[in-house]
């Protein structure tokens, strides 16, 4: 292995203990007689020790208060039947967006079927329209970008 390749490893897998024993030995062997690699190792160790002195910051008490208020306010707003309906649909739809879309589609089909077979009165139509609006708004809220939905990789299983 040439010096550049070794330096790559020094900056990543070697420093982060991601190398197997054999490769690590090869790298160490090179470093033991290469001045420029030795310098890099030293600089990287300095960098690491600078980070190791950092302690985490605790957020101000007000932050928890705000979170608590935001959650409890929203919950009291959702207490009505609409909230319960959204919750029920939510727990059915939660795990995967594809499932979610599938179930929304299925629900729409069911509602349409009900609508066409019944010679429905005004109130029936009003109810359907409302239910569809809720479904649509809920499926839109599933498009949250920041919350990962593809859980459950082997790596994550391993971590638990």
């Amino acid at each position: 292995m040439n010096c550049d390749k070794i330096k790559n490893m020094l900056m990543t897998d070697h420093l982060d203990h991601e190398l197997g024993d054999k490769k690590r030995e090869l790298v160490d062997q090179h470093v033991s007689h290469c001045k420029s690699c030795q310098e890099l190792v030293r600089a990287l160790q300095d960098q690491r020790s600078a980070f190791s002195q950092i302690t985490p910051h605790t957020p101000p008490v007000q932050v928890w208060q705000n979170i608590h208020d935001a959650i409890t306010n929203k919950e009291s707003c959702l207490k009505g039947w609409k909230g319960r309906l959204i919750d029920t649909i939510g727990s059915l739809l939660a795990p995967k967006p594809i499932l979610a879309l599938g179930s929304v589609f299925a629900m729409m089909l069911i509602l349409m079927a009900v609508g066409t077979t019944h010679i429905a009165g005004r109130s029936q139509h009003a109810y359907e329209a409302e239910a569809l609006t809720i479904l649509a708004s809920y499926s839109a809220s599933l498009d949250q970008v920041d919350v990962p939905t593809d859980f459950g990789t082997d790596i994550e299983k391993f971590l638990l």
Binding site: E18, T58, P59
Partner: protein
């Protein structure tokens, strides 16, 4: 981040506020500290922290235990902080430029900003500031949170090889920046 018991997560998912507060206490120092290194000031970091925990709360019931809870929180935090930074950085910069004179006159900074200005950490933050957001997130997860490559890949939703190349670039940039800071110490 401190470990969080499965039982606590399950209780919180059933809207048990005490359990959710336990999760908050275990995870908020990490969430807040990471946010502090990505967004420009403590007020923004507080907003990101609030956002992250409200998201966690509302998605707890969809969290499946086949995945690691901590990794899930790492991911929500990194995404939220980076998106927040992207969304508000330009707008805030404009406002800061306008209010620059006023700010200099009052020069009030919260305790956190003062803490960040503690010489060692301030220097480190300045170095981190020279990195892109993605590189910064990578370095913090590795050097401060101690995640391994697999955990980082999963927390950042990127392949392990991308983790490797981001870490390498970030470290190169940090070494370069450190050399500029103290040219005689590090050749």
């Amino acid at each position: 981040m401190v470990d969080i018991a499965r039982e606590t997560i399950e209780r919180a998912a059933r809207n048990d506020m005490a359990a959710f507060k336990e999760i908050y206490q275990a995870a908020s120092p990490f969430v807040y500290s990471l946010a502090l290194r990505i967004v420009p000031n403590s007020a923004d970091a507080q907003e990101v922290t609030q956002d992250v925990f409200i998201k966690i709360y509302h998605h707890l019931s969809s969290f499946r235990f086949s995945s690691a809870f901590k990794t899930w929180i790492y991911r929500i935090t990194v995404n939220t902080a980076i998106n927040y930074h992207r969304k508000y950085a330009k707008e805030k910069q404009r406002r800061v430029n306008n209010e620059h004179v006023l700010d200099l006159a009052s020069s009030s900074s919260s305790s956190d900003e003062k803490a960040l200005q503690g010489d060692h950490e301030a220097q480190l933050n300045m170095l981190l500031g020279s990195l892109t957001l993605e590189h910064r997130a990578c370095i913090v997860l590795r050097e401060i949170e101690g995640l391994n490559y697999q955990q980082m890949a999963s927390a950042l939703s990127i392949p392990v090889n991308t983790v490797r190349s981001r870490l390498k670039r970030a470290r190169q940039a940090l070494l370069q920046a450190a050399r500029k800071e103290s040219p005689y110490e590090l050749r």
